[in-house]
């Protein structure tokens, strides 16, 4: 096995780790208003009204809703924005 092959494999493994999709999850809390949560989903995530309402209701009834999946940096940015609106949001590594 050549050194080049080892390095290539490690780089590939690192890249794969970075590529793992990350989920943005919004959790229910009793304080935020349904209309407010819908407005925030539309603004931050660019959802249509129908999609925003659907996710808001999922948060309300199921306690959480996965609102976005993708690369980590962008997921972190979404969570930061959602915290700015005082929504309870977390970042989760997607299960593959």
């Amino acid at each position: 096995m050549s050194g080049t092959a080892v390095i290539t494999r490690e780089e590939t493994r690192e890249k794969r780790a970075l590529d793992v999709p990350w989920n943005v999850v919004v959790h229910n809390d009793p304080v935020n208003l349904m209309s407010y949560v819908t407005m925030v989903f539309r603004r931050v995530l660019g959802f249509s009204r129908e999609k925003a309402v659907r996710h808001m209701l999922e948060v309300h009834h199921k306690g959480r809703s996965l609102v976005w999946s993708g690369e980590r940096e962008r997921a972190e940015a979404y969570v930061e924005q959602l915290h700015g609106y005082l929504l309870l949001a977390t970042l989760e590594r997607a299960e593959l």
Binding site: V31, L33, S35, T90
Partner: protein, 160 residues
Amino acid sequence: MRLTRQSPEAWQLQDIPPFFAVMLADLPRLAALHGEARERLYPDPVAADGAGDGLLSDWREHVVPGLERLFATSREIVARDIAAMDAGAESARLAIPGKNIDAWLNALNQARLVIAGRNGFLEADLDSREAPDLSAARGVDLLRLHFYAHLQEVLVGAAG
């Protein structure tokens, strides 16, 4: 109490009863009492068993200060609007520029989270149809929370 549009960029809250004008005036002070609600206002971005690669410490070092500034700015904007409230003996009027509505939504949410946090209000408390017991501080806080919720609902409508 009603919110009317004075121009494309200006709203006015009219016919505010004196009792509620006092609650409005108290909003910026109350919204700043983050103490017991701090964990809710600045939640961790991952669950306890989350990323575990320094994200949490980076978040607390870099993101939380930005959120603190954002929340403080919202309270300052709201405080300036409230300072200009026209309070008469019968009712008050309050001008809310359209560009300040987001700050109002944010400050109202801060205050509502603070009130819920310091009283330990649960969904059942907030959904209860019983009139709050205004002889107790907890009951006054519940009324205050509902009043701020009503105002927030109206402003969400204005924000479109």
